[in-house]
């Protein structure tokens, strides 16, 4: 039967190969993506897979440089910061065209301030006509605390937007470059509302971006074409196709067979094979994330600095990187990854030294054997591929210094909730950066986050917190960098947690792909990318 099957496959295959080889008329880039997007309105989405699928269509007021975290002009060409950092005035780009011909919509005007107002008010104002369309979930707008930050957004003329903040906050410029802040066409929204089909706004997108949406077939593919009128870095291919391929083994096989040019998230076990294959290329950089082991500083003995330092020395980092991350992680010593500005490389890392750890524990008055709880992640996260395995290794290391760690876990939602309440003694967690601003990591050890829950160490240090709040209000990057560097020194000394690792993100593509720049956010962008 096996032979029969193969014969059939072979014969049909051969015929099809002979006939199927039609010439490609236009240049097409095929990206093997992971899944279907939730919607085509980034503000309603929460996953990288969805943002990747929306991004080709849209622009934001500010923009991250391709392949970096620096913020530059987008649909706003410049901005003024006044009123001690509380007022931001954006000067909008003129002559920007929205995509024409999508879903029967033909714009009659260029992009202007009304589109900016529409895009933010939809997420912000519950009485906005589009607020409830398609379910009204605007997770990122809320996660980034925009309702708490924004006082008013107004236009003073068609090309000027004034944003007033409740308190000075410079990281908001980076927030505005995030996908949730994508600018939509207010005219298209009106067009669909009049046609009685407002829900299509989130299914058939119209933006100003480098690619124009063509079609989407759920779970199969998304197709875009080049926007020849784009104001920024133009697309070098005529068509961009997302071939939705959830299985990583199938993605690699398709990449090797030339059925796609680029594949997301290769499995660590396949990395060697990809490196050896001359028709493929593999690039990597550390991800915008960190995994850490948090000590609850409100619970003894972790209220003592020496104990926390001792625990930092008790764990063999290198073994964890090797065994748990299988080469797809790099040891962490700071909260922010090395790709982020203000990373302080001068901060020393704790070296693995069980003897010194024991001595430190003794000097802090801790008697062994000591019983502690060690909460481990119940799910795989981008920064931690296997919480349980990691916890077992930590447990074994701790036993060597006379500490009995009891392994505890809960369902993911429950785990997070209980940890934010501070029920744990020690526990694994981590963070994935949102906007590439160091504040987006450092706030995790601030006093406000300690009360709010996200600071699961419950550590609140005045020296650290003052700097954190001051840095947020400064527009000068150099001054901010200095403060952040000092904060990393304070945090290392105080050791409210043990930093474990930053993941390494790998990208696999065909050798004929050129011009791709890996994003520290783990996002995928295809303008400026070519296929030979």
């Amino acid at each position: 039967m096996f032979k029969l099957s193969l014969k059939l496959a072979a014969s049909v295959g051969l015929v099809a190969m002979l006939v199927g080889a039609t010439a490609a008329s236009a240049k097409t880039l095929v990206y093997c993506s992971e899944g279907s997007p939730e919607s085509f309105t980034p503000a309603m989405n929460g996953t990288g897979t969805s943002f990747d699928a929306d991004r080709p269509v849209f622009d934001k007021l500010t923009a991250f440089e391709r392949g970096g975290t620096n913020v530059g002009p987008g649909l706003a060409t410049s901005w003024d910061v006044t009123d001690g950092g509380k007022t931001l005035t954006f000067h909008l780009r003129k002559g920007v065209k929205f995509h024409s011909g999508v879903n029967g919509f033909k714009p009659t005007r260029d992009f202007n301030a009304d589109d900016v107002l529409f895009s933010f008010n939809r997420q912000w104002k519950p009485d906005h006509p589009y607020f409830k369309v398609s379910g009204g979930k605007y997770d990122y707008f809320n996660d980034m605390d925009m309702p708490a930050l924004l006082d008013t957004i107004e236009k003073t003329d068609d090309y000027t937007i004034v944003m007033k903040l409740k308190e000075p906050n410079m990281p908001i410029l980076a927030n505005l470059a995030m996908d949730f802040a994508s600018i939509h066409s207010a005219e298209y929204a009106d067009f669909l509302m009049k046609a009685g089909k407002p829900e299509q706004f989130d299914q058939i997108p119209v933006g100003t971006g480098p690619f124009i949406f063509v079609t989407y077939q759920k779970d199969a593919m998304i197709r875009f074409k080049k926007n020849a009128d784009y104001f920024g870095e133009k697309a070098l291919v005529d068509d961009l196709v997302f071939a939705i391929t959830p299985d990583p083994t199938a993605r690699l096989a398709k990449l090797k067979a030339g059925e796609c040019h680029f594949a997301i998230a290769p499995r660590p076990a396949d990395l060697e094979e990809i490196k050896k294959d001359k028709s493929l290329s593999l690039i990597s950089q550390s991800g915008l994330n960190v995994s850490y082991w948090a000590f609850n500083t409100e619970k003894p003995p972790f209220d003592k600095k020496e104990v926390r330092q001792a625990f930092n020395m008790a764990i063999d980092h290198d073994a964890i990187i090797k065994e748990v991350f299988l080469g797809s992680g790099t040891s962490a010593k700071n909260l922010i990854p090395p790709t982020l500005w203000s990373y302080n490389d001068k901060v020393p890392s704790y070296s693995f030294n069980p003897e010194k750890a024991k001595a430190l524990l003794a000097s802090a008055g801790v008697t062994t054997p000591l019983d502690i709880d060690l909460w481990y992640l119940p799910v795989q996260r981008p920064y931690n591929p296997n919480g349980k395995r990691m916890a077992e290794m930590m447990q074994a290391d701790l036993a060597k210094i006379g500490v009995n760690a009891k392994l505890v876990t809960y369902e993911w939602g429950e785990y997070r909730k209980r940890m934010q309440k501070g029920e744990h003694m020690t526990g694994q967690l981590g963070w994935t950066g949102d906007n590439g601003d160091p504040d987006n990591f450092f706030f995790l050890r601030g006093c406000a986050a300690s009360k709010g829950g996200l600071n699961v160490t419950k550590w609140c240090n005045k020296e650290y917190d003052d700097r954190l709040n001051k840095a947020k209000s400064l527009s000068d990057i150099k001054e901010r960098t200095k403060l952040y560097e000092e904060m990393q020194v304070i945090e290392q000394e105080e050791a409210p947690d043990m930093k474990i690792a930053h993941s390494i993100v790998f990208e696999a593509m065909r050798a004929e792909v050129s011009g791709y720049k890996q994003s520290p956010f783990g996002s995928h962008e295809f303008q400026g990318v070519d296929v030979k």
Binding site: V19, A24, S36, K218, D247
Partner: protein
């Protein structure tokens, strides 16, 4: 006959109710609700959590949620998918043709190979072919679909470059809007040279993978049924009349031997849809199986409930049809007057 159909139709009602109840409860027993499962490290504020639970009706008692669901169902409303905000029925109907195309191909593959193989094995009983075929059938039946699919991809697509790895058509060279959702038909209608062959080419491996288990079952069933029939008196009589062996087997024996095979083919349809879940996942085949798997991950209650109910209804209807067909082709079976 009409009485029989009515009785069978009435019997499906408790099955439907049980189905609705089980799918409704089972998905709610999985930890994490649709709102919480979306949140990452940021978590979600208690106010927003309460707001969304209210919006989705999840703050209601479970019995009330169930009765609301049934009430809407009775009005033909399957609800709206929580992840895509599309109507569940619309989403199902847009994906179902892909599953149907694959299933038809799989069952055709199984029937067209399985019946001749079973007949041949029965006729050549005890020969090396018989032993090999029956050995292969046991292997085929017990083979995990996931493993078999990946193995074929590695051998046929990666190793020998005979078939594409996954998907339904070559996306680099062909593009057309779907009209029927059946890629073979749409590609023919597209007037793009080579599109149909590309679609056919993409169908080969998934068809083999999905058709393997039914193929094994059908081949075995045909063989045993054929063996039974070949020992009947009327076959001996046919031979005694001096008919050619071909006529004896194809006209006299096979027609009767096929009766139980029809039932088995019908029963395979349920299994085929279950197999489609895995096959679609391996081959990135955009059908309802893959959609259901993803809906579990997202705790998309309406999509899951609606999807499972629709698929189950289909299986029930097909089983009913098979029962009727069985009566039609086998006059010895009477459906209670």
């Amino acid at each position: 006959m009409i009485k029989f159909i009515l009785r069978r139709l009435l019997l499906t009602i408790p099955t439907f109710i049980a189905l609705m109840f089980v799918t409704f409860i089972a998905i709610r027993l999985v930890p994490g609700d649709p709102v919480e499962v979306r949140t990452g490290e940021h978590g979600i504020s208690p106010e927003r959590l309460a707001y969304f639970r209210h919006e989705l009706g999840l703050d209601q008692p479970v019995w009330k949620q169930f009765f609301d669901y049934v009430w809407h169902l009775l009005h033909g409303d399957f609800g709206v998918s929580l992840s895509s905000n599309e109507k569940v029925l619309t989403e199902f109907l847009s994906l179902f043709p892909a599953t149907l195309e694959l299933s038809i191909a799989g069952i055709l593959f199984a029937v067209l190979l399985g019946i001749p193989a079973g007949v041949f094995a029965a006729v050549k009983r005890g020969s090396w072919f018989d032993h090999t075929l029956m050995g292969a059938a046991v292997a085929g039946f017990s083979m995990p679909i996931f493993w078999w699919g990946l193995l074929l991809i590695m051998l046929v697509s990666e190793g020998w470059h005979l078939t594409p790895v996954s998907g339904r058509i070559d996306m680099i060279n062909f593009y057309f809007e779907p009209t029927t959702g059946f890629m073979l038909i749409d590609s023919l209608m597209s007037d793009q040279k080579g599109a149909f062959l590309s679609a056919l080419h993409h169908l080969v491996l998934p068809m083999i993978v999905l058709g393997t288990v039914p193929l094994a079952v059908i081949a075995r069933m045909t063989r045993s049924s054929m063996l039974e029939v070949l020992s009947e008196d009327y076959v001996r009589t046919a031979r005694a009349k001096g008919l050619s062996e071909f006529r004896v087997i194809s006209l006299h024996a096979l027609r009767n031997a096929l009766i139980p095979v029809v039932t088995v083919v019908g029963l395979q349809v349920g299994g085929l849809l279950a197999g489609a879940v895995l096959t679609e996942t391996i081959f990135s085949w955009p059908g309802v199986g893959k959609w259901l798997i993803e809906s579990i991950g997202r705790r998309d209650y309406p999509a899951l409930q609606g999807g499972i109910l629709l698929i189950s209804s289909l299986v029930i209807v097909i089983n009913l049809l098979v029962d009727l067909l069985y009566g039609a082709i086998n006059p010895r079976i009477r459906h209670g007057g």
